[in-house]
Each structure stands twice: as C-alpha cells, then as structure tokens.
C-alpha cells in the first residue's frame, strides 16, 4: 500500500521507521511518567501501611476479594485481547482487529461495572472518606477508624485514578476500532494500535499491584 504509506508519514520524519520508533519511545516515556504518577500514591500507601498496619488490615477485610480477584482476571483477559488486537493489526487482519478491540472494550466495561458495584457497597456502608465516613461497618472506633479512613482515602484515590485511566482508554480503543474497520492498519502501519496497547497493558499492571496491596492485606 504505497499510498497509505505516504499518507501516514508525517512531514517532519525522514522514514516511516523513524516515525514508528519515535512514537514507541514517546509512549514509553509517557508510561515512565505514569509510573511515577502512581508512584506518589504507592509511596503514600507504603508509609501509612507501615505506620497503621492493623487498621489497614482491618479496613481491607471489608473489600470483596472475590470481586477483586474476578476483576483482576477480567483485566488480564482484556490485556490478552488487546495483545491479540495488536497482533492482528500487525498482520492487517481487519475484522480480527475490530473484534479484538471491541472485546477489550467490553472487558474494560465489565471491570468498570464491577468497580461501580464495589463503590456502591462502600457508599452504602459509609466508607467513603470525608465527614460522612463511619468505620462502624468495620467495627473500628476512635483512632483506628481515622486510620481506616486513610486506607479508604488511598483506596479511592488509587482505584479511582486507575479507573479514570480506563475511562480515558475506552473511547480511544473505540476510535481505533472505527479506523481499523476503515482499513487504516496493516503491516505497514499499525502504530496507533500498538501504542494504545502499551497504555492498556500499563493500566493492567497498575491493577496487578493494586489488587494485592488493597485487597489482600494479611
């Protein structure tokens, strides 16, 4: 597809190879930035977990491990479908790309749906940090309740930012699916799919750490 080749090469690059490598490096640098962005939260988490271990454990026991584990599996599945989409894009299999991308979106949506269920449960039990927070459901009182509130503050900040990343990712993947349907991606040029894949896998990795850190405190 020489025409497609010419249209995707941006004017300031010499070759398509240079353009692909730049995109890939750019995405990786962006992910490095993301690592440090979540890193601030993980550092906060580490400090308080070491400080208030017991309250964190008690508070975490109220998370639904089954839902968390199921969601982990869903996200891993979505990573697989994303990887398959990238694979199909590299081979230029138009319908396969679309199918894999849409299944990724579906799995992402399931994850978010489960997250909504979990959040609602916390809402009903007054576990949303703030003035209405009550550690009653956790059977904690006094200072332990405050520390449980720190746990829930971190829980919502971390899972919330993670979910936000997914919410940003889903429309991007949908957009890719549209372009894929139009036959934009093939062996010559599939960088957008690849880059979105990297982003999506990164979001998966964040969850891989969030799950044991938030749900499985012993």
């Amino acid at each position: 597809m020489p025409d497609a080749h010419a249209s995707v090469l941006q004017h300031h690059f010499e070759t398509l190879q240079q353009q692909k490598e730049s995109s890939s490096l750019g995405m990786w640098v962006f992910i490095a930035q993301e690592v440090l962005f979540f890193g601030g939260l993980f550092a906060t988490y580490t400090v308080y977990r070491a400080m208030y271990h017991d309250a964190f454990a008690a508070a975490s026991h109220h998370l639904n491990v089954t839902l968390g584990a199921a969601n982990t599996a869903v996200l891993i599945c979505s990573s697989l479908t994303m990887a398959m989409a990238v694979h199909a894009a590299a081979l230029g299999r138009r319908k396969q790309i679309v199918a894999w991308l849409l299944s990724t979106v579906l799995l992402g949506a399931i994850f978010l749906g489960v997250k909504v269920v979990e959040y609602r449960e916390k809402w009903e039990l007054h576990l949303i940090p703030g003035p209405s927070f009550s550690a009653h459901a956790l059977h904690l009182e006094g200072d332990a309740a405050s520390h449980a509130q720190i746990y829930y503050s971190l829980y919502f900040a971390m899972t919330g930012l993670h979910a936000l990343h997914m919410i940003i990712g889903i429309p991007i993947i949908l957009g890719l699916a549209v372009f894929a349907w139009k036959g934009r991606y093939g062996p010559e040029w599939s960088t957008p799919v690849e880059m979105t894949g990297l982003y999506w896998h990164f979001v998966d990795i964040v969850w891989i750490f969030l799950f044991p850190f938030l749900y499985l405190i012993h």
């Binding site: 300031h12 750019g26 640098v29 930035q33 906060t44 400080m51 405050s146 503050s153």
Partner: protein, 549 residues
C-alpha cells in the same frame, strides 16, 4: 539608537529571506493552530514574558512593603498572598518553562538538523496546557488570591487556609503536564531526530543540558502532580492523607513535594547552563574545555538531584539519620556544578574573547552562579542549615540560582539567538547597558539578604524588627535598579523586531547548525537535511557556509 532604520536597503546589506517561518502564513489562527516548533516557541515567549512581569509586579510590591519594619502598605493577608503568588507565578509559569519551552523549543530541532520536534501536535498541546494552567492561576488571583506559600505545606493548605487552594492547585497540576509533555518531546526528538552523522558526542551542550532537564521533567513532575491532587482531595472531599488530626503525617507531604520541587531547581538551572556553554564558546571563539565532562555533569546533576530532597527538611523532625544521608548526597551535587564552572573558565584561556551582550550575561551568570552554588553548601551543612533555613539566607541563595543564574542565562540566550529568531539585531549599546544594570541591581537586591538571613530575619515576614531595616532598604533600592534593568530589554527587543538591523544567517559568527540556515529560518528549518561530519564547537576554521538554497 546605534542601529539604522531599515528604510533603505543598500546593496550588499543583508536582507531577510523571502520566505521564513514568520511570514509563512498570516492571521491569528496561523499562530494558535501552528505546529511549527518555532512559532510555538514564540507563543511561549509571549506567555512567559507576561507571567514574568506579573510575578515581577508582585516582587515590586513585596520590596515596597519591606522598606519599613511595620506592615504599613498592605495588610498581612495581602502580603502573604503577594509572596505566594510571586512564587507560584515565577516558579511554575516562568522559571520552569522559560528556557526549555522558549529557547529549547526553538533551537533543539535546529541544532540537531531536524524539521520539527518529534510530536508537533503534542508540542502545541503543551502550550495550551500551560495557558490553561495560567488561566487557573489568573482565576485564583481574581477570586482573591492564595496564601499558602508556593510550597503548599499541609495542614495549612488542606485545612486552615481560606484562600483559593483548589484553583491554584489545578493550575499547577495542568501546567505540570505541559512541562512533562515538553520533556517527553525533547527526549524523543534528541534520540530519534538527529541529522545523519550527528552522534551524541557531537551534540551542542545546550542539547545535552535539555536532555538532562527532560529526564527530571518526566520523572519528577508526575509526583508533584499527584501530590497536589491529594491536597485537593483532602481539601474538597475531606479525604485523609496529611491531616494530623486523622493520623496523617504532614511531613510526608514535604517528602513528596520536594521529591519534585528540589529537582525542579535543576529544571531551571540545567538549561541555563546549556545556554552558557554555547555563549562562552562562541564569544571565546574556542572549543569548549572538557566537553564530555560538561555533558556528563548535566546528567550527574539530573540524577543526583533526585537523591537530595530531604535537605529542605532538616528542621522538620525528619529522622536525624535520613538528614545525614540527604546532607552527604547534597554535597555531592556540588561537584558536577563546580566542574562546569571551572570548564567554562578554562574555555576562556587562550581564546579570543569579545564582549557582546550575550557574553556579558554569560560572565555575569558564572559569577552569580558561583555565589549561589557556594551558598548552597551552607544549606547542605546540617548544623549550619538549622540556623539559616527559612531565613532570608535561603531567599538570597535561591534567587542567586533561580534569578541571578537562570534569568541571566535566559536573557543572554535570548540576545544571542535574537537575530536567528527575528532576523534582526538588537541595539548593542542599550543591551550592554541593561546587562550591567541587571548585574549590579541584582547584587544590590540579594546580597544584603544573605546578611539579613544570617542575622536571623525569617522569610515570609510582613513585619520585622527595626534592626533589619537598613539591609531591607538596600535590598529594595537594588530591586528598583533591577526592575529598570529588566524593563530596558523589553523595550528595545520589541523595538528591534521592527526597526532592528537585518541580521545575516550567522552574525556572531558561531558554529552550530542553527546558524547554518537563514535568519529567521524557513518553516522546515533546512532546505535540505544537513549531514554532519565534525563535532560542534570547531572554531579553528572560519564558519561554514549556510545550507541555503
């Protein structure tokens, strides 16, 4: 004015190229939707200049207030907002973007022989993020200001302040991403877009410095972004992160904040050092002394800079042992900085030194940076820092680094590349005068503050004891000179855009690829992709011919 008006162009006089990036297209949208790194650099130039004078206006009010010991000009509430906004505007909206986003943006593609940065759209997005961040800051000001200090220390910022912390925090958060994306663009560009034959050790040191800066922007900025976000969550939704009444630790905020904000000082100073390396070689007409040591010291500063943040917290109650480690590492940063100063000095040796304005700024930079750097040793020394931290000693120290050094380099660089950017020369006589005025004014303003600080005058004080008045008056007097010094270039640079003498492609003359295209450069920078076979800074031969059609 010593320059002629361009009423008549004599034969043999340089002429502007017919087509260049400034006249490639006309109209507001040709600027607001541009993807040309040179135009984006000029958008940044206009915005950071605006922010510089806004921040400067706050400084004027602060210095006016401090002429007398009692707080008689403004109320304490207002005074606190003045220094807070001075800090926020200057740090996040002037110093951090100034050299990278203006000079770096304009020059990096030119210096490496590329047609643009790797991601032109993201480059434009960076500018828009900057503008949105600045808009939030304006909103903060209009709504009544901010009084937390630019450091946003908790729990004051999260629980006690009654001012507009949220909008200010959002502004900084957004501007942070502007900075991250600029860094990302630079890293990819420097890695992937270098002209054929331009190997790493042939790169100008300006590029090396920006590479190191970008590393900090990428690896540090996200941490302060998320920290600011936590402050906002704690303030708006009463999440508990740093509030001691709910078991939070305010010192954790300081760790997270300084993890970025100490390296942020290197975001300001590393590009400045890059500028100085260019200026010193050009005006000594001699290869930089110890090229690889200067290049590597930039990286060393960037990496070591991440390991020293705790030296802002020696009196906070941080563990004594952590304090010792931070102190030791802080001293190590002094070494690469010293290496640079010595190498610049050695570059002059047996050179052919001329004293055009950029060189005056460069020499001024070396002097002020030396003092700023050496006073950093006072603050890294544990037992001594206890006395001087949070006093005017610190204020003087970081102004020597951030204003004395960074702004000097910024102005020096702006003058140096002004002919390249606009195609016209600035009036040399006025420029030299203003360089001297700024140097003198700066020292008069900030040197007394070292003495004040050691005497024990705390920073951020609206009222102060009478015995500190003489030094404060000296400082304010110096500030008025400094202010004039900053206004003069503003005037003649604006004037020269229209009336300045037409510049040749290489007026100094200097080596470096940016001088081998027309002034101003065409939109695509070079008519043909340049090929490089020698390293930059080869001053033994007359300047090479430009790559012109």
């Amino acid at each position: 004015m010593t320059t002629a008006t361009p009423a008549t162009v004599l034969p043999g006089e340089p002429q502007l190229p017919k087509k260049h990036f400034l006249n490639a297209d006309y109209g507001v949208w040709s600027w607001l939707l541009t993807r040309d790194h040179k135009r984006i650099a000029l958008l940044y130039l206009a915005s950071v200049t605006l922010m510089f004078f806004l921040g400067g206006a706050y400084a004027v009010l602060i210095r006016l207030e401090l002429i007398t010991p009692p707080g008689d000009l403004v109320s304490s509430e207002t005074y606190n907002k003045l220094f807070t906004l001075h800090g926020v505007v200057m740090v996040f909206f002037f110093l951090i973007p100034a050299i990278p986003a203006v000079l770096g943006n304009f020059l990096i593609p030119l210096m490496i022989g590329a047609r643009d940065l790797a991601f032109p759209r993201i480059n434009l997005l960076s500018w828009y993020l900057y503008v949105i961040g600045a808009a939030f800051t304006f909103w903060t000001i209009v709504r009544g200001g901010l009084d937390t200090g630019w450091t946003f220390y908790t729990p004051y910022s999260t629980v006690f302040s009654n001012t507009n912390v949220i909008s200010a925090a959002l502004g900084i958060f957004i501007a942070g991403f502007s900075s991250i994306l600029t860094g990302l663009n630079f890293i990819v560009t420097i890695h992937k877009m270098r002209a054929p034959g331009l190997t790493w050790f042939r790169l100008p040191l300006f590029v090396w410095a920006h590479y190191a800066t970008s590393l900090i922007q990428i690896l540090g900025t996200p941490v302060v972004a998320v920290t600011i976000l936590l402050v906002a969550l704690e303030r708006v939704f009463h999440f508990g992160f740093f509030d001691p009444n709910r078991g939070g630790d305010p010192i954790l905020f300081q760790h997270l904040f300084w993890f970025y904000s100490h390296p942020a000082v290197y975001i300001m100073i590393l590009p400045a050092m890059g500028v100085i390396s260019e200026l010193v070689t050009c005006f000594s007409r001699k290869r930089i002394f110890g090229y690889s040591f200067i290049a590597m010291s930039s990286l060393a500063i960037a990496v070591l800079g991440f390991l020293v943040w705790g030296h802002h917290m020696f009196v906070s109650g941080q563990s004594v042992y952590a304090g010792m480690v931070f102190s030791a590492l802080s001293f190590l940063v002094a070494i690469p900085s010293a290496i640079k100063v010595f190498n610049w000095t050695a570059t002059l040796f047996r050179g052919s030194v001329s004293y055009e304005t950029p060189m005056l700024y460069a020499l001024g930079f070396i002097g002020l940076f030396t003092i700023g750097g050496l006073t950093g040793l006072f603050l890294a020394a544990l037992g001594l820092d206890i006395h001087v931290t949070d006093t005017y000693f610190v204020v003087a120290h970081f102004h020597y680094i951030m204003v004395g050094s960074t702004v000097m380099a910024y102005l020096g660089g702006l003058h140096f590349w002004w002919p390249k950017i606009t195609g016209r020369l600035y009036p040399e006589w006025w420029a030299r005068v203003s360089a001297v005025v700024i140097f003198v004014g700066f020292n008069l303003t900030f040197f007394p503050q070292f003495v004040l600080g050691y005497l024990g005058m705390p920073r951020r004080y609206h009222f102060y004891p009478e015995e500190f008045q003489v030094l404060n008056v000296m400082s304010s007097a110096g500030a008025s000179i400094l202010g004039v010094g900053y206004l003069i270039p503003m005037v003649y640079l604006a004037w020269s855009m229209r009336y300045g003498k037409i510049a040749t492609p290489n007026p100094w003359p200097a080596t470096g690829l940016e001088w081998r295209t027309s002034s101003p450069p065409p939109t695509e920078n070079f008519r043909e992709t340049p090929e490089i076979d020698v390293e930059v800074y080869d001053y033994t031969v007359p300047p090479k011919e430009p790559f012109l059609a």
